[in-house]
């Protein structure tokens, strides 16, 4: 697994190529890039600043990746998360997953993004014409992450 936190931009294509380089057992590579938009809730956003908890961010992402590797037969995972001040069009986050078949690669990429959205210690502050404001966590993100929780066993005591 490759996990990086950085200010600098990343090259999604290069990272995807790297994960499969020299291997012939990988049949599927899924690449997801999260990008800074110029609008949120119908209003214009001119910049986004990402604050993070150094140390915990890498550890927490590492825990998510380890969980993904437990649940799916993955042959490689790369997560890159930027921090600092970003403007619309800038890359924010990259998730690349590799597996023999596509089901695991797609599912693991979605799982990792849903968990990054809710459990990785980053906080976004938006700059708008009227001023700066901290972004509120979305209930829809919590619901998305909740989908991946293991179902309770039948007959377990309530």
């Amino acid at each position: 697994m490759t996990i990086r936190l950085q200010r600098e931009d990343f090259d999604a294509g290069a990272e995807a190529a790297k994960i499969a380089r020299g291997r012939t057992d990988i049949g599927a590579v899924v690449t997801f890039a999260g990008i800074c938009r110029d609008h949120e809730g119908g209003e214009g956003v001119t910049a986004l600043t990402l604050e993070h908890y150094p140390g915990m961010a890498e550890e927490e992402i590492g825990r998510h990746v380890a969980e993904a590797e437990k649940r799916w037969p993955l042959l490689g995972v790369t997560v890159i998360h930027r921090y600092g001040r970003l403007v619309p069009g800038d890359n924010i986050v990259l998730v690349v997953t590799a597996s023999a078949h596509r089901e695991a690669a797609f599912a693991a990429a979605e799982f990792l993004m849903d968990y990054l959205k809710t459990r990785a210690p980053f906080w976004k502050q938006e700059e708008r014409p009227q001023g700066k404001a901290w972004v509120d966590a979305k209930r829809s993100d919590d619901a998305a992450a909740g989908r991946w929780e293991k179902p309770r066993e039948r007959g377990a005591a309530e």
Binding site: G34, L50, E51, H52, Y53, G55, M56, A57, E59, E60, H81, I92, V93, M113, L116, K117, T118, R119, A120, P121, F122, W123, K124, Q125, W134, V135, D136, A137, D141
Partner: protein, 85 residues
């Protein structure tokens, strides 16, 4: 015990500090107890913790619930719900 506290995002802004070292009394045993004790330290803390349900915590870089014990913790962080990704 002596423990380092870290604050992030608007919790940091309201308190006016990024970090500090505190020595809570022995009766402060859990994260929830610590929030209550901190809220009593001044207006800026009360403002940061006015809605305790919204503030999250991590003990030694792992998510911790309000009932988690703080004994032995080296570092406790307080922050709003996360908005990464």
């Amino acid at each position: 015990m002596s423990v380092k506290l870290l604050y992030f995002a608007w919790v940091r802004e309201r308190i006016g500090r990024t970090e500090e070292v505190v020595e809570p009394p022995a009766a402060v045993r859990t994260v929830g107890d610590l929030v209550g004790w901190l809220a009593g330290r001044g207006e800026e803390y009360a403002h940061a913790f006015e809605n305790p349900k919204v503030v999250r915590a991590a003990i030694d870089r792992a998510h911790a619930r309000p009932d988690a014990a703080i004994a032995g913790a080296r570092e406790i962080a307080f922050f709003p719900p996360m908005t990464g990704g």
